[in-house]
């Protein structure tokens, strides 16, 4: 499949598009300003952005900032002969970017290698992934969610869960490669959210129910605007685990006050998550026409 690489024209890397276009399987989309980067990210499917540092009216760091704001999981490479010590990062301390000095003897080769690598490995994301990530995604894709008649059942379940825990919000979410998709949600109107902004991204990394008693006291979440804007203060999430042992999503409750959950409550939430998986499995079995395995 052809990789679409957005190249930002700059004084210190004038040959970016030529390098990209010369590589089999890559094609360059050339722009020359931050505003054009923003537009292209909105209009087209871009796999990677490569920029020099000295671009018209702005710097390469402004380009990185624009990409993180518009499409946070799109990887960016800063390809320049300006050394890291000379690059002004004062306003961009947590952007993190792949840096490649184009003075290196094999810089052009390295660039195309890096582009291919970062697209293939989603390496610039702001979250850690489970060690079975590839198998987990494959397991998730095995469920044809759009065709399964689960919406009403799951909506009733999230109503029940919110009521049972007296929580402001309850939801069932699937953790896909780039985002969390909400299959049902009570107390909020959410369809999907970028993965690095969701708390479930972290809860699927641990085996037991993850509880965050006060998100403002937890560095992983205290700076996430979406959580702050929704007024969320506490979280509890239980894993949805496939029969093969892959965690594909979470069943969660959120509240607008700091709160703790007893061992019994955590076990109850886990039971709800297991019920969700049972429904998903049964509906999937009916849909595909497979005969379910019955344990003696």
């Amino acid at each position: 499949m052809q990789q679409s690489v957005l190249t930002v024209d700059s004084k210190d890397a004038p040959d970016l598009s030529t390098i990209v276009d010369s590589e089999d399987g890559m094609s360059a989309v050339e722009v020359s300003s931050c505003s054009a980067v923003e537009t292209k990210l909105t209009e087209e499917s871009i796999d990677c952005v490569v920029t020099g540092y000295e671009i018209e009216d702005d710097t390469g760091m402004d380009v990185v900032d624009t990409v993180r704001a518009e499409s946070p999981q799109t990887p960016v490479v800063l390809y320049t002969d300006v050394s890291p010590g000379e690059i002004d990062t004062a306003s961009f301390e947590d952007l993190i970017v792949e840096y490649l000095n184009n003075d290196l003897p094999d810089a052009a080769d390295r660039l195309t290698f890096i582009i291919d690598d970062i697209i293939g490995h989603s390496v610039q994301v702001g979250f850690m992934t489970p060690e079975d990530e590839d198998d987990r995604i494959e397991a998730l894709n095995g469920y044809d969610i759009k065709k399964l008649p689960i919406e009403d059942s799951f909506s009733r379940l999230t109503d029940l869960i919110a009521s049972h825990f007296d929580a402001s919000v309850s939801f069932i979410g699937l953790i896909e490669e780039d985002q969390e998709n909400f299959l049902a949600c009570t107390g909020a109107d959410w369809d999907s959210m970028t993965r690095e902004k969701t708390m479930c991204t972290h809860s699927i990394l641990q085996e037991d129910v993850m509880v965050v008693e006060d998100v403002r006291e937890d560095q992983r979440f205290s700076e996430i605007d979406a959580i702050e804007n929704f007024g969320i203060r506490s979280y509890a999430g239980a894993n949805m685990t496939t029969p093969d042992g892959h965690v594909i999503g979470s069943v969660c409750v959120l509240d607008t006050e700091p709160r703790s959950y007893s061992l019994e409550e955590k076990e109850e939430l886990q039971q709800y998550a297991e019920t969700v998986m049972e429904i998903l499995e049964l509906r999937d079995t009916v849909q595909t026409g497979d005969t379910p395995e019955v344990e003696a």
Binding site: M61, L78, S83, P84, G85, I87, T89, A90, F92, E93, D94, L95, I96, V97, E98, Y99, L100, N101, L104, P105, D109, R110, F113, D117, I118, H121, V123, Q124, V125, G126, F127, M128, T129, P130, E131, E196, H202, L205, Q206, M210, E213, D214, E217, D218, Q219, R220, S222, E223, I224
Partner: protein, 219 residues
């Protein structure tokens, strides 16, 4: 095209075993001196290798001395990025602000790329990731740094890496969650679970070359 070559990395200064190229280890414990001892014994470079250390709390001289304590002559095979003290020579890069992970990441990648112009094989480490977590407001930037720089360089190059984290550091209520989050993206985890007067016990997971439990001297 792949830049990774094959080859085992012997870790016999700690234990009689060798790690595959690309191996990444999360090293945790609650005693900084013990963590430091294990860290340097894993990362001490052999003659055809270089050690590359991002030091959050030590200056370059101190880092080199720690390697020399493990084995004489290895300090010269060390490149240091340090948040403590100036860059006194070409093998030292000063980090002005450890919370500026954008600049730190670019410097780290540059040091690795320059080292690879001399020799392909390297052992890279962060001492201490807990200090970085304390310095930043948003842990996501630490994850992005580890993904984008540290783990990526290990995957692409011919090297092994150790990320040390002091669990006694004040990271708010989330220390255990941060450890379990980071752990999943590393090849393995070495936890210093117990230490006596002369020995310490290491609990190992995810590293085939090592048993589940190792007793080593504290040095």
């Amino acid at each position: 095209m792949s830049r990774a070559a094959s080859g085992d990395f012997k870790i016999d200064r700690l234990y009689d075993a060798a790690l595959d190229s690309g191996t990444s280890i999360l090293l945790t414990g609650d005693d900084t001196t013990d963590i430091e001892s294990v860290f340097h014994r894993l990362l001490t470079a052999n003659a055809d290798e270089q050690s590359i250390v991002l030091a959050t709390d030590d200056n370059a001289r101190s880092v080199r001395r720690s390697f020399e304590d493990v084995e004489g002559g290895t300090g010269d095979r060390t490149k240091v990025l340090t948040a403590e003290g100036p860059a006194r020579d070409d093998d030292v890069t000063a980090i002005e602000d450890i919370s500026d992970l954008t600049a730190t990441g670019m410097s780290f990648s540059t040091v690795i790329a320059n080292a690879q112009q001399q020799t392909d094989r390297f052992r890279a480490g962060i001492f201490l990731a807990s200090s970085i977590c304390k310095a930043v407001d948003d842990t996501r930037s630490v994850y992005r740094f580890l993904n984008s720089n540290f783990l990526t360089e290990l995957r692409r190059g011919d090297g092994i890496g150790v990320c040390a984290l002091d669990t006694s550091a004040d990271l708010g209520s989330s220390t255990n969650s941060i450890v379990s989050g980071i752990e999943t993206s590393f090849t393995g985890h070495i936890e210093i679970t117990d230490s006596g007067i002369t020995d310490m016990t290491l609990s190992v997971s995810g590293i085939d070359a090592l048993p589940d439990t190792i007793e080593v001297n504290r040095r």
